[in-house]
């Protein structure tokens, strides 16, 4: 078997084992949360009897191990179950919101990744001169700003000072693509600001690190221009570190943007998850947690593989 195929298979198997471990951790985490699901559903005025009945009907009286394996058995068959709190089908509830989450992440990623890499290359090209200082300074300022502050700042700027956008990003099924894009413009701007700096700084650092190599001198002595040297000779050797940071940021765009969702009233997974953690609604938390973990693990496996494939020593063994 080609070593690469073996490697891919190994990584995927490892990813699946990790997912299983994550499901155990989430389960234990929710178990350890203070409070009681039945109490959360029925409220403070519930009688002891009604609480007991509800626990019985939701299966909360069974041991934790039994409940975990019940859940696992169903999940493996694709059945994520019903929300304890409102009896809605979880898969259905997630579907719509996952679409919204991915849409927002994709919009932000498509703008932020090329922009970060381009700015990183420019900063590396003019290392220590004014373009580098300007880019590094501005991105550092942006990364230092908490995202809700950035969000309110952008809202103020683009709905009050220059009123061209709406401060609320509601999206509904049946909206056209353009309408949707218009609706998410503000959160996308905020998310781009949040993730840009990290990727740009890693691109700059990775390129500058490679620029110390002897083969960069060779390229310069061939008469290549500085940008040609960076693009043709430094970039191929800096791919691995850049990709890994890009992927961490993409994963963040999918799993970590609940604050931005709340600020813009954007109906997506993060909000859904946080609501149900508060209610101790285990099946929902479990389902969303697994989806987030799968995105995170999947993207990191992808980064690993790209990093390995970018290395000719592994692609073409002696």
């Amino acid at each position: 078997m080609h070593p690469l195929i073996k490697l891919v298979a190994q990584r995927i198997a490892l990813g699946l084992i990790l997912l299983l471990a994550v499901s155990v951790v989430i389960f234990l985490g929710v178990e350890m949360l203070p409070g009681d699901t039945a109490q959360a559903i029925l409220g403070q005025s519930a009688t002891a009897e009604s609480l007991a009945n509800l626990r019985e009907s939701l299966g909360l009286n069974q041991s934790a191990t039994t409940r975990y394996f019940n859940w696992l058995g169903h999940a493996l068959q694709g059945d994520l179950g019903k929300a304890l709190t409102n009896q809605q089908d979880i898969a259905h509830a997630i579907g719509q919101r996952l679409g919204n989450t991915l849409f927002l992440a994709a919009c932000a990623g498509i703008i932020a990744v090329p922009m970060a890499i381009t700015l990183g290359l420019i900063a590396a090209r003019y290392n220590g001169r004014w373009p580098d200082k300007a880019i590094s300074g501005v991105t550092l300022a942006m990364i230092s700003l908490p995202e809700f502050v950035a969000a309110y700042f952008v809202i103020f700027l683009l709905t009050q000072v220059i009123p061209i956008l709406q401060p609320v990003s509601m999206v509904f099924p049946g909206m056209g693509l353009f309408e949707k894009l218009h609706a998410v413009a503000l959160p996308v701007i905020v998310l781009v600001m949040v993730v840009l700096a990290h990727m740009m700084r890693m691109t700059r650092a990775a390129i500058l690190n490679v620029m110390q190599s002897a083969y960069i001198e060779t390229a310069e002595l061939k008469g290549l221009s500085p940008m040609q040297v960076i693009w043709r000779h430094a970039m191929p050797n800096a791919v691995a570190p850049i990709i890994s940071v890009v992927v961490i940021n993409l994963a963040y765009l999918v799993v970590g943007v609940v604050v931005v969702e709340v600020v813009f009233s954007y109906n997506a997974l993060g909000q859904y998850l946080v609501d149900h953690v508060a209610k101790r609604d285990l099946p929902v938390v479990q389902a969303v947690g697994i989806i987030f973990a799968a995105v995170y693990i999947g993207l990191n496996i992808l980064a690993d593989l790209i990093g390995i494939i970018a290395n000719p020593r592994l692609r073409h063994p002696k």
């Binding site: 002897a214 083969y215 002595l221 061939k222 008469g223 191929p236 020593r313 002696k318």
Partner: protein
């Protein structure tokens, strides 16, 4: 004939920024004038820091780091390239002048195929079409003796050997048909048997293409084989400039004479005596491999004598040192020391066993803690093995410093404040501090300039006479072996192929490998390369 390159009164300066100190202004090259005619080869020779590479790169108006050309003229094809702007310099780099770096392994981009890198310059300057450039590259691969020239370019740098990479680098430099090629120590990093092939290939390529060249090296014997003229440099100044024959056979300056006569230490071979160390039927492999890097190795060395272990990179000579010290436990075989059997593993040896066997490394730089003073470094084994403290320790450190001919005032210095030779001397003193009966010296002079290396070898011989310590001296350099050894073991691919007293090992009849090894050492005379290539019996091992 008109000069292709004329350098007049060149002055090159740099500013150094030592950590924690005020910036220091350095003059790297001072008032050097030299010229190269079309089709001729100029040799630049000198020790490290003499300014050889700096002058070579100045021919492309290129300064590494903060190096600046601050005075004089560099005339290439009649115009002063110091007056060129960035675009003008890019136009001449790669088209009129090309560069072959010392370490081709580092100078090739690991992420790109060889062919793409070899033809890049020709395409960049629009000198030929891709087909023409590839055809020329294949032709150069063939001329330089690379295997499978048609498909060689499809490989990545890590897929070919060091010697092949160095030739590919030469092909890369010749591909755009430049007027001048700068060869910067192109064979220094290669094994001696590979060096000779690469040297011959470079010489032939220079002759066939009619290109002019500047050949930079610290090895006068090497440059004597390829250069028409030689410029000897020291501390950035020209010492002597003349035709190769004159420099080699009738050097006028004292410094040149010292370079020519270097490595002529006389050492009378000692014989007899019971062995202090005997390694018997040693086999060893690295963890996780199923290949023995050492097979059936049996050697011994007597008290107060020197066993030289000689071979190319990968022959297993350093591995043998690791086995003797116990860093790499032997898989089979027995090590006896001073009449008792040593445990194969370092961890289960007694403190006295550890004290008796000391080691000195190639890179003195990395073998010392940069944050400890010389006094602390040498004092550590005194404390550890003998429990010396305070005044007694200080006095013994001073005694050791005297022994390595460094004297008072050095105990408070840090390694960064020492020269390369002084660092190695401190490492020797540290080994001696343990009063060992055996010191393993692993390529201890390889990173040093010839004259400095000579001093270290003389010191080691003196110390042996005073202290009666035995050496296992690992080296790839036969001149060093001749200077210091009593016994020699020649290693090749993990086996000892020739072993005995120095006078026997170095006397004919030779086995094929020893013959190859001995005949590959450049001699300080012109025409040696051609003569030896005619009489060789065995192809190089790792070319």
């Amino acid at each position: 004939m008109a000069d292709l390159l004329t350098i007049k009164n060149l002055r090159i300066e740099a500013t150094a920024y030592p950590p924690g100190e005020a910036p220091r202004h350095l003059v790297l090259v001072d008032d050097v004038s030299v010229s190269v005619q079309k089709g001729r080869v100029l040799g630049l020779i000198g020790e490290s820091g003499a300014g050889k590479s700096t002058i070579g790169l100045a021919a492309m108006s290129y300064g590494r780091g903060g190096v600046r050309l601050t005075g004089g003229q560099v005339l290439l094809n009649g115009r002063d390239i110091r007056a060129e702007g960035a675009a003008g310099l890019r136009a001449l780099r790669g088209r009129e002048v090309t560069y072959v770096a010392q370490s081709a392994a580092a100078a090739f981009n690991p992420a790109k195929r060889l062919m793409a890198q070899v033809i890049e310059t020709s395409l960049l300057h629009k000198l030929m079409t891709k087909q023409q450039a590839e055809a020329r590259a294949v032709e150069l691969f063939r001329k330089l003796g690379l295997p499978e020239p048609e498909t060689f370019g499809r490989r990545y740098p890590h897929q070919v050997s060091g010697g092949q990479l160095q030739r590919a680098m030469t092909a890369m430099a010749l591909c755009p048909k430049p007027d001048l090629v700068i060869f910067d120590e192109p064979t220094t990093a290669l094994d001696v048997t590979t060096q000779i092939d690469v040297l011959a290939a470079i010489k032939e390529a220079i002759r066939d293409t009619g290109v002019a060249a500047i050949y930079i090296t610290h090895d006068l014997a090497v440059v004597a084989q390829v250069a028409d003229d030689i410029l000897v440099l020291r501390h950035g100044k020209a010492v002597e400039y003349g035709a190769t024959d004159q420099i080699i056979s009738a050097p006028k300056q004292d410094y040149t004479q010292a370079l020519v006569s270097v490595r002529r230490i006389d050492h009378a071979e000692k014989t007899g005596d019971a062995p202090i160390l005997r390694a018997q039927d040693i086999a060893a492999r690295y963890h996780g491999t199923n290949f023995d890097v050492l097979q059936d190795v049996t050697v011994d060395v007597a008290a107060g004598q020197t066993l030289a272990i000689v071979g190319e990179s990968g022959s297993g000579k350093s591995t043998l040192a690791r086995v003797i010290t116990g860093l790499l436990p032997a898989r089979a075989g027995k090590i006896t020391f001073d009449g008792r059997t040593l445990s194969p593993e370092l961890a289960s040896r007694s403190k006295d066993d550890l004290r008796q066997v000391q080691m000195i490394y190639q890179m003195a730089d990395t073998a010392m803690n940069p944050r400890q003073t010389v006094g602390t470094i040498i004092g550590r084994p005194l404390e550890f093995y003998f429990g010396l403290k305070g005044e007694a320790k200080r006095a013994r450190v001073q005694e050791l410093l005297d022994q390595i001919e460094m004297g008072a005032g050095f105990e408070n210095r840090y390694p960064a404040e020492l020269s390369g030779g002084q660092k190695q001397r401190v490492c020797i003193a540290r080994a001696l501090a343990a009063k060992p009966k055996l010191i393993l010296c692993d390529e201890v002079t390889s990173a040093l300039d010839p004259l400095v290396a000579d001093g270290i070898l003389k010191l080691l011989l003196n110390l042996q006479a005073q202290e009666g310590v035995a050496y296992v001296f690992i080296t790839h350099d036969l001149a060093t072996v001749k200077a210091i050894a009593d016994k020699i073991a020649v290693m090749y691919r993990g086996k000892v192929v020739r072993y005995g007293q120095k006078s026997d090992v170095l006397a004919p009849p030779f086995d094929d490998y020893t013959d190859l090894l001995l005949s590959s050492v450049p001699e300080m005379k012109t025409g040696w390369l051609e003569a030896v290539l005619k009489t060789r019996r065995m192809e190089s091992a790792g070319n």
